[in-house]
Amino acid sequence: MIAVSGVSKTFGRFGARRVQALDGVSLEVRRGETLGLIGPNGAGKTTLLSCLLGFLRPDRGAITVDGKPPDDLSVRARTGYLPERLGFDRDLPGKAFLAFHWRLAGGARSRAKAEVEAAADRVGLERPALARPLRGYSRGMLQRIGLAQALLRDPELLFLDEPASGTDPRGVALVRERILEAKARGATIVLNSHQLTEVEKVCDRVVFIDSGRLTKSETLRGDSATRRRGLVRVSAAGLAAAASVLSREGFDPNADANGSLRFPVGSDDDMARAVRALALAEIPVYEAKVSAELEELFSERAAP
């Protein structure tokens, strides 16, 4: 659906002010896929998102959405976008803000009120809050109303930049639910976030961007998953025994200071086999999960 081919972007023209923000980035996002952009600050993620939205023009390379340029109006009619920081008229009441975007998105005036209220309900914004100007909103509320506007008219394409930034744990869970809902109805989603546990929960694939280059792509779901780690937590006393049992089963466990063992697994069946082996050896397992361990990936890639 989204094709990015050899995209480069440089800011500034001379000397120290010249910054190569993107350097030959190529990737594809399939229809219905949820792609996570991860990487350190200044890596070029926001620049890439700006190019995907058509706000910036690449110096080299091309970006198409269903074969059309990203700023094509037919593409934008199907797009929802949430910036990291909601910038809008602070004196505008929340409902007027949503109604404005409803109309901009091509929604019928007659349905605006009902749709605005439904959108606010979806993100847990109370009706009295909708009547208040945006200047009175907390950071979390701004993120919620921003998400509500991005989801207006159920867009096929969603670009979300740090959607859960500044929200409380309930807000984080709500953002996750809305993303999963959009995903369930077949939306294609590009998510830029530093909240790696959330990225792992919703994304089908992540690409790692560092110094403007796409350095790694990992599939997190399905049979073609490329990054799957088993994690079991046992008592400190049982750590050595557990490691021994897992080694005998053919795994390659690494222990950490918290009493956890991590090891690569090929499938969910592998994980079940590992847990069964520990249970048969009568080693109490406090926690067992399969994870992509994106934090570990991030640390590996971000290390100087």
């Binding site: 800011f11 706000f55 109006l73 909601l86 008229d89």
Partner: protein, 229 residues
């Protein structure tokens, strides 16, 4: 887009107070015999209403959100321009009404200087001049940050009013540029039939079109980074 602009301006308490002060000063200046040849204070409102009309949306990130919707950049731009004109028109209408009321209440009779027709002509004169200045500010606002468009307007004015050139052909070129890019049109006289409406409107329309087309071309090509990594 037009409604949003009007709401932006008249919804902000600071703007409302500033516009209110301008309207009151104009009213009392007029009532005390000043500004009989035209509005003196009210035209300054255009700078309040039009400065930073696009650049503020760029820096706040609002523009990026708007342009992620199916709307052309030119639609946005001319929506802003119309918004400025409507806001300014509203301001002039209220100011004129205020002048009418104050002059008639204080003099107790139908003062000729503040007759409805005369006030409409004066407001029309201020509106046409303001519409022109707004087009220049809009053009500068498409690429200058914050309210640097005001500085752009000032620089343009100074450049086109440089002291006479020594060379005749340079002087002629400068005069032609000034007359065509900053035409001085007395709308008040033209609307009363005391000036030549055809020549006045021709130059005015030409220059206005130049600034609006330039604004559209620059804005269509502009990149919009919305944040930092």
């Amino acid at each position: 887009m037009v409604r949003r602009y009007v709401r932006q301006k008249y919804g902000a308490p600071g703007f409302l107070v500033a516009l209110g002060i301008l309207a009151l000063i104009e009213t009392f200046t007029f009532a005390n015999g000043g500004g009989r040849g035209g509005f003196v204070i009210a035209p300054w409102a255009i700078f309040l209403l039009a400065a930073g009309s696009v650049s503020r949306d760029v820096s706040s990130g609002a523009l990026q959100m708007i342009l992620s919707r199916p709307i052309r950049r030119t639609e946005y731009l001319f929506g802003r321009y119309l918004g400025i004109l409507v806001s300014y028109g509203l301001f002039l209408a209220v100011t004129s009404a205020l002048i009418f009321l104050v002059v008639h209440l204080t003099t107790g009779s139908a003062a000729e200087d503040a007759s409805p027709l005369r006030l409409v002509l004066l407001a029309g004169d201020a509106f046409a001049t303001g519409a022109f200045q707004a087009a220049i500010l809009l053009m500068f606002s498409t690429f200058l940050p914050g309210i640097a468009d005001l500085l752009g307007l000032l620089v343009l004015f100074l450049v086109l009013h440089l002291p006479p050139w020594n060379k005749t052909w340079l002087r002629n070129a400068a005069d032609a540029a000034r007359e065509n890019l900053l035409p001085q049109v007395s709308w008040n006289e033209a609307l009363r039939g005391e000036g030549i409406l055809g020549a006045a409107t021709g130059r005015w329309v030409f220059a206005l079109t130049v600034y609006l087309v330039l604004a559209a071309v620059i804005f269509s090509r502009r990149e919009l980074p919305y944040g930092q990594d």
